[in-house]
Symmetry: C2
Subunit: 672 residues, 2 copies
């Protein structure tokens, strides 16, 4: 069994690690294809932790076979770390028939000491008739089952097939997941990439993901162009393999993260790598082909591994989707892939962390489909009107509540210095106030320091899709209110008609939110409608709020001397303290915010020890990485609270690693 | 005098060369800032052809001054190639006063053997009061004038100032251009870049460009972050200077073409350069600060020069705007800069080549503002209705006329196998047929092989701006026609209402264009309305068309035995032959397509020798690089024809280099 552990998360991407008999592998990663007989480039020096080679080629060549059986495949290809082998499926798809059975190929891979072997699946081409895809799939699934029985210590690849029928991909993924393979490659997608059918690639991958467990790495088979890595990683792919670095080099092609450059067209070496800085174009052109191909292959490996590192860094920074959006503009059909991905917003959101290190940078209207935006729209439902009136103001600098007065006065009401004494102020003071802005559409003023509503940037010149998005959100949000007053600027910006302008177009001088209201609204938004009242009641005088001297932001909230919540400075999230956890547990019905742990782990949770995935019996499906959770036993008794390190979907699938960073509740034993 | 020569063009960008007493410099280029006393990094090994150092720092330090005066500045900073020096304007802007006059600083720079010196301009900060900017400007212009008189052999920088008042930038540029400087820096833009006010930067640069001559390099002063290079180059900036490589390194910051990464946040080295592949993050973190800063500075130089090379390659490939659009998504405010640039469509088009090597790749709706699109819309005016009926069809694969039948039948009319016998065919056959598509909106079927109407790709999932663009273009184009029939698919795709659907929604089986009509329509589009008739008359039987056996495309067109035009395979442009040139010259009125050459050069032109810029008296302002032109004398006698290598705006400004690649017209002497 392969133990995969997640270290960092962003979108559906994971930085993880797994161990094989020949070392640790970090994902996402690239497995250079090493030819068992003809390899000239030593991929170790580029940082390869894992390579892929073909067991069928070894099997078919007497000399290679003999050496592999005698000395092992690691000795054969001179690579001491993890080796994955392919089974000959590719040859099967090309020649129609090969002279080895599924059982034999598994046994052979085991015999030569492969770390990760592959069953003999049927790679069905894209766009075939459904019947053909279904027939092939039966065999693929059957062989996956057989392979899982035949293998002994071999770690096992089980390939998702299903051609371009998304439902077959999902079906296949679900079926083969039953046989406990260790890595799930997604197969037969090379033709889609060769035809630049990236939208169909997205369908194939995303439907496969729906059927695959979260606790195993997935390998996008045959994907070796760095242009596609970021998109694939964001969809949950962990491994790539590249024969492309040498195939492209043999045709004098330089891979770049934004496309391919042909030597014949070059006047300048295109990148910052050793090859590109130590050689010039003329020199390369005059070189013997073989020598040149080796250098270009090295460039291709440098750039491919650099892209893998860049992607990992983006995951850590919580900026992967920005990188994906940049990379996908390299080709209009890759952009099509990105646009198709918009249809999988819900899939993406299920695995996306609630809070990230970096600000949300808008790169184009496609950014409006990121999980942060979909999640905000969903969470807006938690906000209940506190008044019959809604006032919608245009955006200022962030956080809005700090700028909503002085900037407005300067910018939008320069000619009316007397607005402070405006008689309508009273009406406005009793209104709910929201800001209209891209990319989050509507932001209640009280939430203006909550991640990512404060931590985002978009261009000041809006595009039509973004305007339409804000317009539609305003239209649906205003249904909750009897009176809606909109500032002239908002109406202009988003072409809104049929709304009542703000009286005399004045700005509410007291467009401020009291700390008490702010706290309650954040609680509603973060934990669900009504949570504010549960936590803080209705009497502001009972509540003591401590603020940071430096930033003026809320830090600690007490009732009498009991700490209810604290506010995390980095993202404005409320962090439950003892009283807060107890109150939410009492009033929010199960399964809300719950992580249910097994009996054996109760004592550990009570002591504040981390909750491990294997002890989790169940959890609220709305939990995401960085969310606050209530740790309970199967009778819904509160044991502790904490911060989730994973999404509910991961917690359910994983048997390894930490799920929750627990915080002890004082004297909780007495309360149970 | 600095002789600047253009080698390649794309957008407003140029790959050019100029010579100084210390060697040739290729543009675009980066001038690393070298400190005259404290430099530790040898920038030569990164490929620097030109550096910048500060003459005022040398002047103020007795030791440096003495050595510089004795051995020259090249010896002082150990750099044998071109050196530019700054004048102390920066120090002036910081300290308010410095103890050297404009005259002295020019003389000093001359004395120490600087190649390119700078006058003591006044760098006015952005967003100051207009009066302050105007007052400063007077001094800057005065000093530019003085400097041009004082300098002897020194090549001279003359800086464009004007703060954030675009009109002052243009005014300044025009004024200082009168004094024959050699390079035009655009000054005091660093604060704009530091504040991420890229939209205002675009205004400052584009208005400066309106006032600057085309035949001198422009230097975006203080721009040293690779993130901004592509955008600046596309606006016509040729030189950058970077102290940033070392300043960023001192703060542990890695420059990337898509932003900046801080070492403290890194888990992986971010790029493919030598530093990033030979060191790891932990190693760097543990190093002494000075040693680490040196390595990061080297990374910064590797990545900056790689970006310069990447940009040059993009210019050669005609793909610069794609690169700009990618880079500008690195930060929302850089995207704002790109969106602001849309307002300068006309400026851009004036210098953009008519035909390029690469296909037009759409990266987002911002691509609709590229010169190719604006130019197409303008050229559509050349097309006169040939019928009262217009039929608008949805797009197929390209070229449209090859796919318009079979793909349509399969895709849109699968249920009607009898459409061939449809009685309405006759109506359709008498109609003008256009295709609706992104990014060119409307494409007359006859033009479907003309660059870039065939050579472009956009995603199949359209955005709202693109839909709006096509919709508006359809609405304005259809004004020319009495009856407009639109295919259902077009109406759906672009939300068009109030148009008559195609009868029974059938597809014209003969949606083909005859070669004769195709030729005439291309001629109208390429050379102007009526040119088709001028060139080919009205009787198809008089015209012989030779096609390529391999591609089936038109190659040569004759009347009797006389060659009228040939068609260039790469872009579908008509290339004038003797008869074609004579006919167009006879019927198109001057200045259309004309390049007027001086008397001395007449004999050379007649012999088919290249026309040099210095011999051009005047030319049609609509001429762009790769356009066909008629070479005439000042009495409008036809001398030869040819292909322009530059835009009319460049031809007018340049005194150096080739303007036209001439083609001899047989027996032209007899015709004059």
């Amino acid at each position: 069994m392969l133990d995969f552990e997640i270290k960092y998360k962003d979108a559906m991407a994971r930085i993880g690690t797994f161990k094989t008999p020949h070392g640790e592998v970090t994902t996402p990663n690239l497995m250079p294809v090493v030819h068992p007989g003809k390899q000239t480039i030593d991929v170790k020096k580029f940082g390869a932790e894992i390579v892929i080679t073909n067991s069928y080629i070894i099997f078919k060549n007497e000399k290679l076979k003999e050496k592999a059986l005698k000395d092992g495949v690691h000795e054969l290809i001179n690579f001491p770390r993890t080796i994955e082998t392919d089974s000959g499926s590719f040859q099967l798809s090309v020649y129609g028939d090969i002279d080895i059975t599924n059982e034999e190929v598994i046994e052979f891979q085991e015999a030569i000491g492969t770390d990760i072997g592959t069953s003999l699946d049927i790679p069905t081409a894209p766009y075939v008739k459904r019947e053909e895809a279904e027939d092939d799939l039966k065999i693929t699934i059957e062989r996956a089952k057989e392979a899982s029985k035949v293998r002994k210590n071999l770690l096992l690849n089980s390939v998702v097939q299903g051609s371009t029928f998304p439902d077959l991909r999902e079906y296949c993924a679900k079926e083969i997941s039953k046989f406990d393979a260790d890595i799930y490659p997604i197969g037969a997608v090379v033709p889609l990439m060769e035809m630049y059918r990236y939208a169909d690639l997205v369908d194939a991958v995303m439907y496969s993901m729906r059927g695959l467990p979260e606790d195993k790495p997935r390998h996008l088979m045959g994907a070796g162009h760095p242009m596609v890595f970021a998109l694939a990683v964001a969809m949950g792919c962990d491994l790539f393999d590249s024969a492309a670095y040498i195939l492209y080099a043999n045709k004098d092609r330089f891979m770049m993260p934004d496309g391919t450059l042909k030597l014949e067209n070059l006047i300048e070496m295109p990148c910052s790598c050793k090859i590109c800085t130590e050689h010039n174009v003329d020199e390369l052109k005059q070189m013997p082909q073989e020598q040149r191909a080796k250098l270009i292959a090295e460039h291709n490996l440098y750039i491919s591994f650099a892209e893998i590192r860049r992607i990992r860094q983006a995951i850590v920074d919580g900026e992967l989707m920005k990188l994906v959006e940049l990379r996908c503009r390299s080709h209009p059909f890759l952009l099509d892939g990105l646009r198709r991905l918009q249809e999988y917003k819900d899939d993406m959101e299920k695995l996306n962390p609630s809070s990230k290190k970096s600000a949300f940078f808008y790169t184009g209207y496609e950014s409006l489909s990121r999980s942060e935006v979909s999640k905000h729209i969903k969470k807006l439902e938690n906000i209940t009107p506190k008044s019959e009136n809604l006032v919608i103001l245009p955006h200022t600098s962030k956080p809005y509540s700090k700028h909503v007065n002085k900037e407005y006065i300067k910018k939008y009401t320069p000619k009316i210095p007397t607005f402070y004494s405006n008689t309508n102020n009273q009406d406005f003071q009793n209104s709910d106030i929201v800001i209209a802005d891209i990319p989050f559409g509507i932001i209640p003023l009280a939430l203006d320091e909550f991640y990512p509503l404060a931590q985002n940037e978009s261009p000041s010149i809006p595009d039509e899709n973004s305007k339409k998005f804000v317009r539609e959100l305003i239209q649906s949000y205003t249904n909750k209110y009897e009176n809606v007053l909109i500032h002239r600027k908002v109406i202009e910006n988003y072409d809104l008609n049929g709304f009542k302008l703000m009286e005399k177009d004045l700005i509410l001088p007291e467009a401020k939110v009291s700390d008490f209201i702010r706290l309650k609204e954040i609680a509603d938004y973060q934990f669900g409608s009504g949570s504010g009242e549960i936590l803080f009641g209705n009497n502001p005088e009972k509540i003591t709020i401590e603020k940071s001297r430096k930033t003026g932001k809320i830090r600690h909230v007490y009732e009498n001397d009991a700490n209810i919540v604290n506010m995390r400075a980095s993202d404005g999230f409320l962090v439950l303290s003892d009283l807060g956890a107890i109150r939410l547990h009492k009033h929010l019905k199960s399964p809300k915010m719950r992580v249910v742990v097994s009996e054996d782990s109760e004592p550990y949770a009570i002591k504040g020890k981390s909750v491990f995935n294997k002890f989790v019996l169940d959890c609220d499906e709305n939990i995401r990485r960085n969310d606050e959770v209530l740790i309970v036993n199967k009778d819904d008794k509160l044991l502790a609270c904490g911060k989730s390190l994973l999404s509910s979907y991961e917690i359910k699938d994983f048997n390894m690693g930490q799920a929750i960073k627990t915080r002890k509740i004082k004297n909780i034993e007495e309360l149970i």
